[in-house]
């Protein structure tokens, strides 16, 4: 239950020494990069109003927080835990895990929808392809007819609501934009 609450709060699992070890190193490297970049920024009105002042301050704090996380991870046997996890890691086994596979699939489908479909073809068609494919994978028990109906009607409904009622534009134009052009 606690885990569920944590997750819903967005706080995850709390102490994870192995993961903390890696995150702390990434954070420290990142904050060093920001510090170096901040120092290189010009100081037209002196140091007090320099554009790099606050990034320098924040990145320095982040570095020390990362250091704190690293120390606590080492204290909690983060390195040995990481080594153990690394040895036990198997890419094929991870992908065969249903949870991982489902998350990976939705990420890939969404990336394809955002980066390939949207903006190139009308919103309704792009969304139809996205919805039909995701629902086919995740909601297979509904049957293809229901999936096709939902995937086709919902984007049109949303498009009509936002494009016509709220005058909000859709990425890659909407069928309603075509209609307006045609009627002119």
């Amino acid at each position: 239950m606690e885990d569920k609450v944590d997750k819903q709060r967005g706080s995850g699992k709390g102490a994870m020494p192995g993961i903390d070890f890696v995150s702390s190193i990434v954070l420290m490297v990142f904050s060093i990069g920001v510090v170096l970049r901040s120092i290189q920024m010009p100081r037209p009105g002196g140091w007090s109003s320099a554009p790099g002042l606050i990034p320098f301050f924040l990145a320095t704090c982040t570095f020390f927080m990362g250091l704190g996380l690293l120390v606590s991870s080492i204290k909690n046997k983060g390195i040995s835990q990481l080594v153990m996890k690394w040895k036990a890691f198997s890419p094929t086994q991870s992908i065969s895990d249903t949870k991982v596979r489902r998350s990976l699939l939705i990420i890939l489908f969404t990336a394809f929808y955002f980066f390939v479909l949207l903006g190139r073809i009308p919103f309704e068609f792009a969304s139809f392809i996205y919805l039909a494919s995701t629902l086919y994978i995740f909601w297979r028990k509904a049957g293809w007819l229901k999936i096709i109906l939902v995937s086709a009607l919902l984007p049109f409904f949303l498009s009509a609501l936002f494009r016509v009622v709220f005058i909000v534009f859709m990425p890659g134009d909407s069928v309603f934009d075509w209609l307006v052009k045609y009627m002119k």
Partner: protein
């Protein structure tokens, strides 16, 4: 007073009721939280008139905070995180066929909590404005930093350092783009799209919306829908019996609301825990008093969270961060000068909250039975649909594909953060408060130049805030060691 009465316009009442009804349904859906609803609405409200956007968001906010109780009680899955205590105390009763009574008590307790929140907001705003107007750049910057720090402490569970890191990263994200004092481009790497900075709406939608989609779809959760829920309207004397818990929980809800970043979930857990200690009862065995504690607190939290948001421009909770962002889209900048720059807005919000509360009360009773049927909609269907709303919301403001890519990037980043145990809330707060902290801190340093230490020591309010910031960090470190 004209602005106050404007909220009672029949058309706006209809809009507010629609918002409350949609909020209740949204909140009742497992996996769809209040914050997600508010984050999506930010972009979608762009096409609405300002008064409609405000009243619709208030309706959704109020409705969805209660909505979580429906699924928590009836199917043992909290619709929103803050409904977990309601689930603990209410579901055992629902199993005995008293689900309707639990929900009726939840609705009434929610309404009482809302009234307390509204009363606090109305009575405290003038005092807080008076204090806030005395704040100079130094104090405002410290307040923003404290907001991010306390949010990190309270949302990161046993590892507050992760909350602070998340908040500090949020502040750094906000610094990307051309800064306003010298016009220098920071961390843009020559990318023209980043020149105006990273817009917080795609960040908000990505972190709260997309992250939830990526994460929640991995867990199919079959549940049984109850056929009978029994009596819904609670006897009046039942509520009066718990008057002590109502007062206590209202206080907890208000206080946790006023503290930046400390949302309804903290309110309900604290209120539930304090309630058990005072009454010496074990609510998890099924107890209406536990439900009252939880529901009064999370609704009183709404008014509490709106107080710093409206008067200081510092969000009291994640949903109010979205509310601030939505008002920003309509050109409304919140802060101590709100009464001068936006005359009448405060009274309109008061009126809107009252309408939303009444609408929530009526819609909730009307929607209990239909919403039970809605649970048959699986999240495998709902989440991809939410992705479409995320797209529309992110694209609406600037009509730029880049914002959709940003939203996706932050969704992925939020997913990684969640899997590695970093809370998302402080980052969002950091992104919203970053520019405020940056500009005010540098302005203050410019004023202090030559005698920084002396100037800092000579400002009592600033010193108090420094002590509070230090104590926040020290208490977090101490808690971790313990």
């Amino acid at each position: 007073m004209y602005s106050f009465s404007m909220a009672f316009d029949p058309f706006l009442i209809l809009i507010c009721s629609t918002g409350a009804a949609l909020g209740i349904i949204w909140g009742a859906m497992p996996g769809l939280s209040t914050t997600m609803a508010m984050a999506l609405l930010v972009g979608l409200s762009y096409g609405m008139a300002t008064d409609i956007a405000i009243i619709f968001m208030l309706g959704v906010f109020t409705g969805s905070v209660f909505g979580g109780a429906i699924s928590a009680t009836l199917i043992n899955i909290p619709g929103t995180p803050d409904a977990v205590p309601t689930q603990l105390a209410g579901f055992p009763l629902a199993k005995k066929g008293q689900g309707g009574l639990v929900l009726g008590t939840s609705i009434t307790a929610s309404m009482i909590g809302n009234w307390v929140g509204i009363l606090l907001l109305v009575s405290a705003v003038p005092f807080v404005i008076d204090i806030a107007l005395k704040f100079a750049s130094w104090e405002v910057a410290l307040l923003a930093l404290w907001g991010v720090a306390i949010s990190g402490t309270l949302t990161a569970g046993e590892a507050p350092i992760k909350g602070w890191i998340s908040g500090w990263l949020g502040l750094l994200i906000a610094l990307v783009g051309r800064e306003e004092i010298h016009g220098y481009e920071r961390f843009t790497f020559g990318n023209l799209e980043l020149l105006l900075g990273i817009p917080y709406i795609p960040v908000l939608i990505g972190l709260f919306g997309m992250t939830e989609i990526f994460d929640a779809i991995s867990e199919p959760s079959p549940y049984v829908i109850p056929q009978k829920i029994g009596r819904v309207f609670p006897p009046v004397r039942l509520i009066f019996r718990y008057w002590k818990s109502i007062i206590r929980s209202s206080f907890v809800g208000l206080l946790t609301g006023v503290i930046p970043g400390c949302g309804a979930n903290v309110a309900t857990f604290v209120s539930y825990g304090v309630g058990e200690r005072f009454t010496k009862k074990k609510f998890s065995e099924g107890d209406l008093e536990g439900v009252v504690c939880s529901e009064v607190a999370n609704n009183a939290n709404i008014g509490g969270a709106l107080l710093p948001s409206l008067v200081l421009g510092i969000p009291g909770s994640a949903p109010t961060a979205a509310f601030i962002a939505a008002l920003g889209l309509h050109g409304i900048i919140l802060g101590p000068t709100i009464e001068v720059e936006q005359p009448g807005l405060l009274f309109f919000v008061y009126g809107g909250l009252i309408v939303a509360n009444i609408a929530m009360y009526l819609c909730a009773f009307a929607l209990i039975k239909p919403s039970v049927k809605l649970f048959s909609l699986p999240r495998e269907l709902l989440l991809p649909i939410v992705a479409l709303l995320c797209v529309i919301g992110s694209f609406a403001e600037k009509m730029a594909m880049f914002d959709i890519y940003l939203m996706f990037g932050f969704g992925l980043f939020g997913y990684i953060m969640r899997k590695t145990g970093f809370p998302i809330g402080p980052m969002v707060l950091g992104v919203i408060l970053g520019n405020m902290a940056d500009q005010n801190l540098r302005r203050a340093m410019r004023v202090f130049e030559g005698d920084v230490i002396g100037q800092i020591l000579s400002r009592p309010v600033g010193m108090i805030l420094i002590i509070i910031v230090v104590l926040t960090f020290v208490s977090g470190v101490y808690r971790r060691k313990r």
